[in-house]
């Protein structure tokens, strides 16, 4: 058995497992609380929970199956073949080699016209995956190795099925968010208002249920939001790691990160707002903000530049030994 230089990062694995375990725990607690509430107060307000779950499920399934189309059209990206110009040929060439190196099926390639140097990958599985780069990523500010590092990072997202994992993980948060909204409006129009007929005999009980539901929804939403952000940051670190090991060039990825993050922080506000919905899948978040505040760190989808650079330099040391 030949020796390997690719030691797994046990710390990252442990933290990710713990995060997912907590997410699962919140999910179970949420379901139990719902069942208990509905059982205690009758099914009068069950319709709200039912609609929240049904709509949440529909939204999740929708984004699961159409993630590639949604993301591509939001980024105004166009799918390209290897013959569509020198830019497309270059990306295809890099993707070809990385796929052969990683033994994975080739994703489709798209290019988005954008003044921000960035890249993202989407699609629920490796066969449906699309890898998108922006035109300004290719305009020469990154050299070939750095570009390859960025693409290897995105291909690791594909290999890890991050779109599927994050979509499923977000399901709970979506349902809780919808429940809060529905319960809030239910409280506003149903529980408090006297316009309804008098035959609704547990009107008072219904109002309490709605309030409790609102409270449960808010707590679950807040906790799962934080956990999902945490999970997202771990997935980014995992993709950095896998990408760096695939190319064998952690430092190239590190220098690409420095260039891209530095550039993005200087882009004017208008473009940033446009880019916001896609942030979760981008290589570097467009809204980098001031990383000083710990609250911003807690809420961000990507780990801080420092954290990412630190991990990459550890990998570099490991490879050189």
């Amino acid at each position: 058995m030949a020796k390997t230089r690719y030691a797994p990062d046990r710390g990252l694995t442990t933290r990710m497992t713990l995060t997912m375990f907590l997410l699962g725990l919140v999910f179970v607690a949420f379901v139990i609380a719902l069942i208990y509430l509905l059982g205690a107060f009758g099914v009068g307000s069950g319709a709200i929970a039912f609609f929240a779950i049904a709509l949440g499920l529909a939204l999740t399934v929708g984004s699961f199956f159409y993630s590639d189309k949604i993301a591509l059209s939001a980024a105004r990206a166009v799918e390209v073949g290897p013959q569509d110009g020198p830019m497309a040929a270059k990306v295809h060439g890099i993707v070809d080699r990385l796929c052969a190196l990683a033994d994975m099926p080739k994703p489709r390639v798209a290019i988005a016209r954008s003044p921000m140097p960035n890249a993202f990958a989407t699609g629920r599985n490796a066969k449906k995956a699309v890898l998108c780069v922006t035109t300004s990523l290719m305009d020469g500010r990154l050299d070939d190795r750095e570009l390859e590092g960025v693409i290897a990072h995105e291909m690791s997202h594909v290999a890890h099925k991050d779109v599927a994992v994050m979509t499923i993980a977000s399901f709970l948060g979506i349902v809780a968010g919808l429940l809060v909204r529905f319960a809030f409006y239910g409280e506003l129009f149903g529980g408090g208002g006297g316009g309804r007929g008098g035959n609704n005999n547990n009107n008072g009980g219904g109002a309490i249920v709605l309030l409790v539901m609102l409270a449960v929804g808010i707590v679950v939403y807040a906790v799962s939001f934080l956990l999902i952000r945490l999970l997202s940051r771990y997935r980014e670190l995992a993709a950095d790691r896998a990408g760096a090991l695939l190319t064998g060039q952690p430092s190239a990825l590190a220098s690409a990160l420095t260039k891209v993050s530095g550039d993005i922080a200087r882009i004017p506000q208008k473009d940033l707002r446009k880019a916001e919905p896609l942030n979760a899948f981008y290589f570097a978040p467009a809204l980098s903000g001031k990383a000083g505040a710990s609250l911003a760190t807690l809420f961000s989808t990507h780990p801080s530049l420092d954290r990412r650079l630190r991990q990459l330099s550890e990998i570099s040391e490991q490879l050189a030994k």
Binding site: A89, C99, G248
Partner: protein, 190 residues
């Protein structure tokens, strides 16, 4: 990738499969007999250099290893525009077996040094009448071969490639998934 690896965002580097390379000499005979394609005696190993001292030491060792011995092949090293390193060996045209042995020595050195996952492909080149060129490309990660026949200006002769697939299908494990027959434009030694 297993379910757990997906869940935890892990990828295991794919180790290369090496031994299938030794089927090339047989295929070379078939190619010559069936299609008039003769080996040029040149072959190359393509790998992704990793950064750091460890890899550059191994690379140096490999070069020294190949330039030793009485029938030392001509060895040259080139870097392509994608950042991959090509180690090209040239033997006399009729000694494909020696060529394959040398290419295999490169593989073993990288694998022994722990850099097996860095291997991309090996290419053995052939030539035919009227300037036809053909590379038999071996993909380490899949353990399969595919033909690559470049024409001028980044076009490939798909007809010739498919014909070759038919001819050597019995000798070599040909990559079944056509989308993985990725081109290696301007590959050294081709």
């Amino acid at each position: 990738m297993g379910f757990l690896d997906t869940l935890l965002g892990r990828t295991k580097p794919v180790p290369p499969k090496l031994d299938d390379l030794f089927a090339v000499p047989t295929a070379a005979i078939t190619l010559q007999a069936a299609m008039g394609l003769v080996p040029t005696g040149a072959g190359s190993v393509c790998f992704r250099a990793a950064e750091g001292r460890a890899f550059s030491d191994i690379e140096k060792d490999v070069r020294e290893l190949l330039s030793m011995g009485s029938e030392a092949p001509q060895v040259e090293v080139t870097n392509d525009s994608y950042g991959f390193t090509w180690l090209v060996c040239r033997h006399s045209a009729d000694d494909v077996a020696a060529l394959v042995t040398d290419l295999h020595a490169v593989n073993s050195s990288l694998v022994d040094g722990g850099f097996g996952p860095q291997l991309l492909c090996t290419l053995v080149s052939f030539t035919g009448e009227s300037g036809r060129r053909l590379g038999i490309v071996y993909l380490y990660k899949r353990g399969t071969f595919y033909p690559f026949a470049p024409l001028g200006g980044e076009r490939r002769d798909n007809a010739l490639e498919l014909q070759v697939r038919g001819a050597v299908g019995a000798d070599l494990k040909i990559e079944a998934d056509l989308s993985r027959w990725f081109p290696v434009w301007g590959a050294p030694g081709l």
